[in-house]
């Protein structure tokens, strides 16, 4: 159960139950900022950010039905592909470029991440952690590709082409010359892990993670 968070009028907004990462992402976003949500799905995060942080939000979504649903609810969303369409955006056009539970489904995660840091002054990325102990145990004990609430699909039908662990993602951040400003590992109910220091322990016990990044060569205000 995700915790309700207050909107601008003080009313409580209930984030999407299955998207515990949204609350943590929302905590990382400054009010009134410009946000691009890449892979915005049905627009739940954009709506949350709009309601609670009054952001100027835009979205990109691959699936036509979800795009239309977003526009119907008044969100500025285009049908597009993270792997193909991010090149169009100018440098530093947004305060935050967000990729929530999407990077593992892209064809070229590294290129997408680089684009994200180019377009946004900061990038926020959430992803399912393939290093979680249950995933490791499942593979070790059953010898089959792990399936869980976090990773529900069969290996042959999953859209997740590039699953990674928290350690893997951390190392990609180094490769693309990004500073990790904040990294939060959390369990399936959205609770932050008490361990903050040890990447190995976060990698073992975090079911998902959210990273806030900025490019090392970018001028940050």
């Amino acid at each position: 159960m995700t915790k309700p968070i207050p909107n601008l009028n003080g009313d409580e907004i209930q984030p999407a139950l299955e998207r515990v990462d949204h609350v943590l992402i929302a905590e990382m976003v400054e009010p009134g900022s410009r946000v691009l949500d890449v892979g915005c799905g049905d627009g739940a995060l954009l709506q949350l950010l709009s309601d609670t942080k009054a952001v100027d939000g835009r979205g990109v979504e691959l699936e036509r039905d979800r795009v239309n649903a977003c526009v119907k609810r008044g969100l500025s969303v285009i049908q597009g592909d993270a792997d193909r369409d991010l090149d169009d955006y100018p440098d530093q056009a947004f305060d935050y470029a967000i990729l929530s539970l999407t990077i593992q489904a892209t064809r070229q995660p590294k290129v997408v991440l680089q684009n994200l840091m180019r377009i946004g002054r900061r990038a926020i990325v959430s992803f399912p952690n393939f290093g979680h102990w249950s995933v490791r145990a499942s593979l070790l004990l059953n010898g089959r590709m792990p399936q869980s609430r976090n990773l529900p699909d069969n290996w042959y039908s999953t859209p997740n082409a590039h699953l990674c662990t928290i350690k893997d993602f951390d190392s990609l951040c180094n490769i693309v010359d990004a500073t990790v400003e904040e990294a939060v590992a959390f369990n399936s109910s959205g609770k932050r892990l008490p361990i903050r220091k040890s990447l190995s322990l976060q990698n073992l016990f975090g079911e998902q993670a959210v990273f806030r990044l900025r490019a090392n060569d970018a001028t940050i205000t």
Binding site: R58, V67, N68, C70, K72, R73, G74, S76, I78
Partner: protein, 427 residues
């Protein structure tokens, strides 16, 4: 003349949407009057061209319109319709730009054909473009034949219709003329400018030329330039008109003639481009028209032939052939980026307009990739843009037809804008 049979009813009503009318089988009183005065068969559109059944604003000889062809036009008139009421702040105005053969009669019966307004599907009380909340304006385009100045208008210096003396106009000219109408109405900023096809070109032109006057823009089933294939189809249409001996080198009104056959063929060819292969196959297949077997003749044996002949012959009752030449030419000349160093994004640099781009899956006249080019240009300047592709098998004309997904999308976009603009939104 072939009548629409049962299986064509829906298609005929589709034609209503396309044309803002079309089937003039039931002649209006006006038609009889004109004929009895012996003015000739061509006077129907001419009558509306010079004496329109709508509001008209006249700009005098001292208020010329500068045209892209370096000429200026004066005097000139813009005929228009309005629906709903302008609020005290003048912030709730919606400008509808009509397509090639549309007109200002968006949501009222057509004065020539008596058919329902061409966009009644989406414009009206409680509809996506809600006339209870918005002040809707639709002008007849410059170069049209329903009351705005065009080739069928009487040239005040000669006392005869302009004909081919009318200057060749562009989408930019049409929009410049519309801006004069909006000035006349005392409106600084339009809440939305919306239109499909050639209407969408005008929307893009508005957003590029007058960004501060366009709060939001909805270009539908359109492109930022007219493609080679589309120019090619238009050329077929124009050649059909000009090959008709009754065209008389554009002077048919003086000759008391009308290039009916040429214009009808032009319409038939164009009409195919508004549909889709799927839609034609589903609706007509190889069905025969009211006959048990082939007649081994060149009669309209097939339903699809009958349908096209019907489309052609009804079109000529309400449209001026020279106007068709000018307006198709304006579309051909449209290429938004040529005025912006051949970089489309430059047309939108610094814009604060909210955009909603809409395309349809089966539209091969303005396919989705052309909408995507507009989206790319808008992304390149980080503009506020929504872009939806609506699944439909009805081709280019989908935007005029019953498409609930399309309506809901437009309504969602408009209401989000209304909220930001401080305008009422439905409960």
């Amino acid at each position: 003349m072939l009548k629409a049979n049962g299986c064509m009813t829906e298609t005929s009503s589709k034609d209503d949407a396309i044309n803002g009318g079309g089937n003039a089988r039931e002649a209006t009183g006006r038609q009889h009057t004109a004929a009895s005065e012996g003015v000739g068969e061509q006077d129907l559109p001419n009558d509306e061209a010079n004496n329109p059944s709508s509001l008209v604003v006249h700009f005098g000889a001292d208020q010329p319109l500068a045209l892209d062809c370096q000429q200026s036009l004066a005097p000139f008139s813009i005929a228009y319709q309005t629906y709903g009421n302008l609020n005290a702040e003048k912030s709730n105005a919606v400008l509808i730009c009509h397509a090639l053969t549309g007109d200002q009669h968006v949501a009222n019966p057509h004065p020539v054909t008596g058919k329902p307004g061409w966009w009644k599907t989406i414009v009206g009380p409680g509809k996506a473009i809600d006339t209870d909340r918005f002040f809707v304006i639709c002008p007849n385009i410059l170069g049209g034949c329903m009351g705005s100045t065009g080739p069928a208008t009487i040239n005040p210096t000669t006392g005869k219709p302009y004909g081919l003396d009318f200057p060749v106009i562009t989408i930019g000219d049409m929009v410049r003329a519309q801006a004069r109408l909006i000035d006349h109405l005392g409106i600084d900023q339009l809440f939305t400018v919306v239109g499909g096809s050639m209407g969408g070109m005008q929307v893009l032109q508005w957003a590029a030329a007058y960004p501060e006057r366009v709060f939001s823009a909805i270009p539908i089933a359109t492109g930022a330039w007219h493609s080679s294939q589309n120019i090619a189809f238009h050329e077929v249409g124009r050649q059909a008109v000009m090959a008709d001996p009754s065209w008389c080198a554009g002077n048919y009104q003086a000759e008391n003639k009308k290039p009916r056959n040429g214009l009808a063929v032009a319409r038939m060819a164009a009409h195919i481009t508004y549909l889709s292969e799927d839609a034609l196959q589903l609706k007509f297949g190889r069905n025969l028209q009211n006959r048990p077997d082939r007649t081994f003749s060149f009669d309209a044996d097939f339903q699809v032939e009958s349908y096209l002949r019907h489309q052609g012959s009804t079109f000529v009752d309400r449209f001026d052939a020279n106007s068709y030449l000018y307006v198709t030419r304006a579309m051909d000349y449209f290429d938004l980026e040529i005025d912006y160093d051949n970089v489309l994004a430059n047309a939108f640099r610094g814009t604060t307009t909210r955009f909603c781009i809409v395309s349809f899956t089966s539209d091969w006249l303005f396919p989705t990739r052309e909408s995507r080019e507009i989206v790319q240009a808008l992304n390149a300047v980080a503009a506020n843009v929504s872009f939806v592709e609506i699944e439909s098998n009805k081709g280019h004309d989908s935007f005029l037809l019953e498409e609930p997904e399309f309506f809901e999308t437009i309504a969602g976009f408009i209401n989000a804008g209304a909220k930001r603009r401080g305008l009422p939104i439905p409960d």
